[in-house]
Point group: D2
Chain length 365, copies 4
């Protein structure tokens, strides 16, 4: 069986390159279209893209000619690594034209009919897709993944929320430079320094994303969860891996052991489905006193860069408990998050029953 | 008039060098004795000390011969930069022998009869000195300064506590490598990394130091303040300057403007006395959205490295307000803190009335 | 007496800010005009400039309104921090209009009638000024300072060249990120990395600048020195301070002691004239085995950032000797170099005899 | 067939951990003995060793009990990661007792009867083993690998030396912090800094190692090659990967194309034998103008960390050509170098003909 054909929107940028890297050798997907800005369109990928990741650009893509960001080229899914300046309209055009858009951009995350999705956390929100298609009259549709900092915060809290009900969250992030893209943060600003400000980041974490992700689908839309979040966001001189100091209060206060157990027992749908990019387990609990650390743990787990690592769990004098969470920001927190979303769509039949069955038997070739 | 003779205990280490550096050209004090471990005793300072600060070792001290850490050499004040393994007993021996000990070590900070002092914050705690001398039968006495992270947290909160009464504090620190001394943090551990753990640090900030510093002297001892503190302490790859993300709740919730005003109006005793190492003002409020930053602001203010810089004040969804505080950890947070304590002692007559008068007229030579 | 009025071309950029910083409180000069691109012209300096240096923007300049980069505003000297894309024509326009242009840009460095100047090294090349004015029919004129890497290489070698005649130079640079301006080097490129390439840098060091600087004025022009230079240029993750590993061969091989003596005896015209920005001495020789180091030594000497520090002198198995040289790249290697050039012009009468006399007596106010 | 049993001397240190990591899943070798200092002996590996590499300590070794560094435990080969303070005598004791010692320590590198070996470069030097065994009356023997900086210098030059005869070498190294072990370089020394000195390093590169490695075995010993080397060694703030700026002169000057061709054609014995840790090819030539770079290229090639990457080839004004070379210092430059040596010994029959045949057929299990 043929693999599912996919495209990458914004393929020459930092997140676009991650998509290309993660899609290499993927068991279900193959890249058949690369899209980028007018400046790059018409050029070969190897000429238009300054490859910035460790390891080389996949040779098979060197000579692929880049398309403008407009519907047309043959593929079923497009992964969007577009900047928010352009993502909004382009993604709508693709969805209208029948493509499945798995977007890492923030533009449609808060649209009431667009799923903001972490496969482990809220697969039931995919019910929004039908609502979206109907409301907009589209053949295709858009799904989105959350911001890199939100992803790991919510991933770490989800099993606790299920059992004990999160009511208050205090979070201070120490975010890696790759979160700002390329060239992104000037070395003049970050060498021997911390920048205690990331534009728009605290708003996303306090008001929008965690509440939607952990909200409940009520048949017509997502009712936002009603816990309160306080977030301070900082940029630190690490390359990859967002580290977060988290304090949390619950509706029912568990014991420390119960929290660890909730993390250990966590085996959500995405893991049960054995999606190719789903780490087993989703959450790694490290009991050592000085972990997780970005350099040592950002690639931990069975699928490099896709797990959330938690540690330093201890009582909090103000709320109930505090702990550290860490995750890779450009893999699970961006391109890898979108990719896992696409895998969930396939497995749950949103790309057709045939694809779902093939995915199950991994008969793609 | 002769300057007051002072000594430095642990003069070859990282904090000891800062004492030596800060005492260069001091209007009131001159170094007449350098003390270090047995290994260094008997050697010239230039031979025993691997000078590690920018700028050179003061030439006048090159040939001073280092003493063992025992009473004897002539001086009135000894500044203690000793490690906690040895500071406890040595400092007691000096105080018993009649020296004024201004210590940066943690050993005696929590002794009920030893002042834990920030001159701007709790000069009235100096009343403990008489109690200490009587209780222990000493001619001399010990004063201490708090831990580097506590210093700037409490400095930033003190004017707010005076007006609005602090009840709850959340703090997440991002601490510089110099806080661990020399050689301290291995480059293998911190390059491209954050370490979410500093041994003993959270305990000091949560349970011991802020409550004593902002406590009230009731005639016989210090009644600890009863606010609650939650602290997460992290080591980040910056050289100097501890940055702290702080959320705070008050007995009476002020407006944002009232908080800024409280910082701007702040003019405590140490500043009124115009102590040589007291920055004017003590607290710098920076309204720019991305400040304070360690590299840009750790040396800010009228006395380099002695001020606390605050910024990013904004409402907090859980407590009342949140903001960032920054201060130099080895200057105000260590050696400079002890030095300012000694200046306060002189100005308030704890080294005799003659010294106090001379200090006022700056007639030392 | 009034100070000499000066302007800064490109005042909002990284080098422009250094000019502004170094001119603060200058005994001879005061800034009366700030020039920048169209985008900034008409705005107040505080609004147009994102101040990027430690310490604050001088308050006196906050409200100065920025001019477009065209002759007109009143001042005698303009310091040019313009990028090479625009410096060429703008500097010529100012010189034609009668201004003295002290430029840090590379555009006119290799013009046969424009002095490429290090005051300690080749003050006799100022004879080109008359030739330039005559040839071009200008009232004003242009002088330039060399590239940051060349500056310290040539400064370290000049006293040796005078005594022993340099014939071959091998140099490998490890250059700081600030050399690329702001935002300059992306943190994504340089964290945990070295970039073994700086566009155009090796050509300047191998073929153009050292040979002109150490060339001889023969009455009508500069005869280039004829030694051979091999340069490898690298970018390393340091903020400031270019470090250079240098091997050298001489016409007459000196002893190691004679080299040290040549550095120690070095007392060129700029130092004899006691120019305000001339460090005393110009070259610092450090005998410690592991010096100079960028962090510890880039601000060494009597005028911070203006000296060249040399060390690790030892025999070289291929050429005669090898050693390390270090200097600040944005102070002496850029803005400070231009400033010292201007001071030399004043002292030698190139801004009129009255100014020269006043400079001597420091009667400016 | 059973795999060959191997031990690791100094298994808890930085290089020891690399040995353990690289031996995981090795097709020919399995670890049956871990040796460390008295302090660790008797403890389980998981308790005695602070694992410091990305990825976890192999679980199978957690409960292995550590031996003192003395002969006895069953294994044929011991890999030595001992510090030079203790390596000398311990390695001799093991060799005398019949073990094959593959050492990364410097102690015996320059012994006339001990091979200093890079499998690609000088396999014929293994003839020293018989001479060594006879001279010392040992059943076992010692082989060594060169210093991390020498390894990549000589690897890059070997194919050129074969064709054109190297006569003069200039090399300036920019070495990673991991080269100094753990804790090794203090973060206080290297953050925002370069240290232009590594004790003993220049002597090894100038006088001892390249000449022995590229020397010829004359039947009784190694006649040192007679080219001249000038080396400046520097420590820079990169984690892994030594970068070297190299200029070289040849007996017969080749064209630039001939040099590239020599690198491309290079297919020495170790690669022909398809040793498991031999990268294919051994040398990677990168034509991009700004490569190799430590972060991007240190793990390049078919066996991560084992190749040498060269680039920036261009004419040198003083010698013939200059270029950059890069290689991983703790993999190929240390533990991986020793491991490849052991593989060569097996393949060439130095552990018996049976092992050699099995290795060829990879019938180990």
């Amino acid at each position: 069986m043929q693999k599912i054909q996919v495209g990458v929107l914004g393929a020459t940028g930092a997140v676009g390159q991650r998509f290309v890297q993660l899609l290499q050798g993927h068991p279900w997907f193959e890249i058949t279209a690369l899209f980028a800005s007018e400046r790059s369109a018409g050029k070969r990928y190897v000429d238009a893209c300054r490859w910035n990741l460790r390891g080389d650009m996949p040779t098979a893509l060197h000579t692929q000619v880049i398309h403008e960001c407009a519907p047309g080229p043959e593929c079923q899914i497009v992964f969007s690594a577009l900047p928010s300046e352009t993502a909004g309209e382009i993604e709508k055009a693709f969805a209208a034209a029948g493509y499945v858009v798995c977007s890492n951009a923030r533009n449609h995350r808060y649209d009431p009919d667009v799923p903001l999705l972490i496969p482990e956390v809220n697969p039931e929100h995919l019910a929004l897709i039908d609502i979206q298609k109907r409301a907009r009259g589209w053949n295709g549709y858009i799904t989105t993944n959350p911001n890199c900092s939100t992803t790991h915060l919510v991933s770490a809290l989800h099993p606790l929320h299920l059992r004990f009900g999160v009511t208050k969250i205090f979070v201070v992030t120490m975010q890696a430079i790759s979160g700002a893209g390329y060239p992104g943060v000037s070395s003049m600003d970050i060498l021997d320094n911390v920048i205690p400000y990331i534009s728009g980041e605290e708003e996303k974490m306090e008001l929008k994303e965690p509440q939607k992700l952990l909200g409940t689908f009520d048949g017509s839309g997502v009712r936002y969860a009603d816990f309160v979040v306080s977030a301070h966001c900082n940029r630190v001189p690490t390359r990859n891996g967002h580290l977060e100091a988290i304090s949390v209060e619950f509706a029912e206060k568990p014991t420390q052991e119960q929290i660890v157990q909730a993390w250990r027992d966590y085996q959500p749908l995405a893991q049960q489905l054995r999606l190719p990019s789903a780490p087993q387990p989703a959450i790694l609990y490290d009991a050592r006193p000085d972990r997780p650390q970005p350099r040592l743990d950002r690639m931990a787990g069975s699928v490099a860069g896709m797990a959330t690592v938690v540690g330093r769990l201890r009582p909090d004098p103000l709320l109930h408990y505090k702990f550290m969470a860490l995750g890779h920001n450009t893999i699970r927190g961006a391109a890898g998050g979108s990719l896992l979303n696409a895998e969930l769509l396939v497995a749950l039949g949103y790309l057709g029953q045939e694809a779902a069955l093939l995915a199950k038997s991994t008969k793609f070739a």
